[in-house]
């Protein structure tokens, strides 16, 4: 059906011709009624914008898209494709902090000479461009002609005369499957952003992979609170509905965090069938939706509650399924999957309608890179949530050091080959060669190294961690997220906090456990006892010495916008002495390594009151 398209640009035009006034997207605003964007309006506004972009020489060039949540983003994205430009979705820079630095980094890395935004943010964006030394970059507001359209609850599509004339002047670009559609900036480090180059062929291939995995059809209706610059938000929740020719109902992540129930309510209101997000969103729903709100929910239409973008926890899924079963949620709807921006998005997922696979394995064997199902005599076990089947990729489990494929039952780095694998990192040939053109011994080149560790068991992919963050101590592989999760179990004072586990080289590699603690009335003695229990846990269950435990205030452990623990950042904050400890126990060699902390010398432990 849809595989015949040569570009996503062509697909949007065909959908617009087929579907006309049908809604492509409904955006639920915090205040005011819903905003509707029809297929016809999307096409007409994209044509008008493409004419403006061409006048600014944007053909073949990166164009930065800085939008608040809402349908204007989708118009701008389509407008870039209609102009033959390369869309670069990014968050609004804001006025301070990490996000500002990150977007400034993206601006610099792309070298974009055109930035698109809306009227509300045009002045701030122009100021930001000037401050960034890019005053010559053109900033266009794209909602100028359509204010009145988008403010109304219905009938958005009358358009204006000037826009209609501009749309009429548009001619289709000669876009081929190997031209770039957009750059996806993953949540990599602030200082070195990496833009994944996604071609039209990649995008169309991954849309078809999504259809085969999720068994989607135009009868599905999508639901999302994810940001549009997030890969899972963009590919699965904004573009997949368009590719199918159906509706997506969106709300901002801000609305969702303020009122998680508003997202769940929209599922019943619009009869939505597919949608989801990272693990933490499900936790938030379970914790904050009240009994009264629960009583009004209808989740019976929800066919696939997608879970991805961060490790999927069995406990989170079980708690969510239990809490919302009275609202008609089926436990088998919870759908973990695996994907990454470097493969456009989707790599694997379960069989719709069947519960996600679980595998309880021998934790000791897992540390030795072996996936061995637990037996009656296994003493320490770990339960993994399966990420389903791999349909459209040549997937290999590879020893990351030797580059050789590993036999079945072994954990190794996941390598991929297929039409969804992106073209590389924008303007970074060395990193591109290393990551996207890996040579598999005896099988040729062209493999993507995902940096993720996993194994295949009975045809199902299990993700066990990130290769870059795997800690190797005493010949054992320790997965930091496992230690972080286990520390939470030590005490309720630690259970609500986040942790970051990493190693430092103080003559030998040493484990450092940084964990947030909520214990307002704890004195030095109690904090010392808790730190001692953490050390016991790590020593006993992970078989490595835990010489360094740093208990910190809630909010100290840094995470990315998608909730991933920033272990590398935490490690450098620790080494620079920039973590304020409520209580810490440090090995003398590590203490000597930490600079500028102004620590009292000779003390094995110290505390601060709060």
């Amino acid at each position: 059906m849809t595989t015949a398209f040569t570009s996503f640009t062509e697909l949007i035009q065909v959908r617009a011709a087929e579907l006309g006034d049908a809604d492509a997207q409904i955006f639920l605003r915090d205040r005011g009624g819903p905003q509707h964007l029809s297929y016809a309006a999307l096409d007409r506004r994209a044509r008008a914008l493409a004419v403006r972009l061409r006048e600014h020489g944007a053909h073949g060039q990166p164009v930065l898209l800085l939008y608040p949540p809402g349908p204007d983003f989708l118009v701008a994205f389509a407008g870039c494709l209609y102009a033959g430009a390369v869309a670069v979705p990014a968050p609004l820079p804001g006025d301070r902090g990490e996000r500002l630095q990150r977007v400034s980094g993206i601006l610099k890395d792309t070298g974009a000479r055109v930035v698109l935004t809306d009227c509300e943010h045009a002045a701030d964006t122009s100021l930001w461009l000037a401050v960034s030394g890019r005053g010559e970059t053109v900033c266009l507001a794209t909602d100028t002609d359509t204010d009145t359209d988008t403010d109304t609850d219905s009938g958005t599509d009358s358009g204006t005369d000037s826009e209609g004339a501009a749309a009429g002047a548009w001619t289709a670009p000669r876009t081929g499957p190997d031209d770039l559609a957009f750059l996806q900036y993953t949540s990599g480090s602030t200082s070195r952003p990496r833009g994944v180059m996604v071609s039209h062929r990649n995008l169309l291939a991954n849309q078809d992979a999504l259809r085969r995995l999720l068994d989607t059809s135009p009868q599905d209706r999508f639901s999302s609170w994810l940001p549009h610059y997030h890969d899972m938000g963009l590919i699965a929740h904004v573009l997949h509905p368009l590719w199918l020719g159906t509706l997506s109902v969106q709300l901002s992540s801000l609305s969702f965090i303020k009122r998680p129930a508003s997202w769940l309510r929209s599922i019943g209101t619009y009869g939505l069938t597919v949608g989801g997000g990272p693990n933490f969103g499900y936790d938030l729903c379970t914790r904050r939706v009240t009994d009264a709100q629960l009583a009004e929910l209808d989740l019976s239409s929800w066919r696939l509650a997608l879970c991805g973008a961060e490790p999927v926890r069995a406990r989170t899924l079980d708690a969510f399924a239990r809490r919302f079963a009275p609202a008609g949620l089926r436990a088998r709807s919870l759908y973990p999957g695996y994907g990454l921006a470097e493969a456009t998005l989707a790599v694997s997922g379960g069989e719709p309608g069947r519960p996600a696979g679980r595998l309880t394995v021998d934790a000791v064997a897992l540390e030795q890179d072996e996936l061995r199902p637990a037996s009656a005599t296994t003493t320490i076990t770990r339960t993994l949530v399966g990420c389903g089947r791999v349909l459209d990729f040549d997937l290999r489990i590879v020893d990351p050091v030797t580059g050789r494929e590993l036999p079945g039952g072994h954990v190794g780095e996941i390598w991929l080959r297929g039409d969804s694998v992106a073209q590389g990192y924008w303007r970074q040939p060395l990193e591109t060669a290393h990551t996207f053109h890996a040579q598999l011994a005896g099988h040729g080149g062209g493999f993507l190294r995902t940096g993720d560790l996993g194994a295949v068991h009975d045809g199902e992919l299990y993700i066990t961690g990130r290769s870059k963050e795997v800690i190797i101590l005493n010949g054992r592989n320790i997965y930091p997220q496992d230690v972080e999760w286990a520390v939470r179990e030590v005490s309720t004072a630690l259970g609500a906090g986040h942790g970051a586990v990493f190693t430092v080289d103080a003559g030998r590699e040493q484990l450092v456990v940084v964990h947030e603690i909520r214990a307002p009335h704890a004195d030095e003695e109690r904090l010392g006892a808790l730190a001692g229990r953490v050390q016991t846990l790590v020593g006993q269950h992970f078989d490595v010495p835990a010489g360094n435990v740093v208990l910190v205030r809630p909010g100290t452990v840094r995470r990315t916008t998608s909730g991933k623990i920033q272990r590398t950042l935490m490690r450098s904050l620790f080494l620079r002495g920039e973590l304020t400890a409520l209580h810490e126990v440090l090995d003398p060699a590590v203490r000597a390594l930490v600079t500028g902390a102004g620590l009292p010398s000779g003390d094995a432990a110290r505390s601060l009151s709060w």
Partner: protein
């Protein structure tokens, strides 16, 4: 800053804010000092946004997502909300 917010409105607001923050921050209400920045008690962005959601539902006011960072103590939050006409006493009597 707003000047001389109506003081009689502020005591019930203190109480309402403290009760809600105690839940998000997992602390006893009496341990929250209205003059101490909430970040000291472990406020993060999810906690701050949760408070915004609850304020909007309770008082029918639209507040900025940065509210709890711009007015970082219970005292400052109460003064700001009172100046905008939030009336916790009235709400609690419903």
């Amino acid at each position: 800053m707003t000047s001389s917010p109506p003081r009689r409105l502020q005591a019930p607001l203190h109480q309402w804010l403290t009760a809600h923050l105690a839940v998000y921050l997992d602390r006893l209400p009496e341990s929250i000092d209205p003059t101490v920045p909430l970040a000291t008690y472990g406020m993060d962005s999810v906690c701050a946004l949760s408070l915004c959601g609850d304020i909007e539902e309770e008082f029918g006011l639209a507040v900025d997502p940065s509210l709890a960072w711009d007015h970082p103590t219970v005292g400052e939050l109460a003064a700001h909300l009172a100046a905008r006409g939030a009336d916790a006493a009235h709400r609690w009597q419903r």
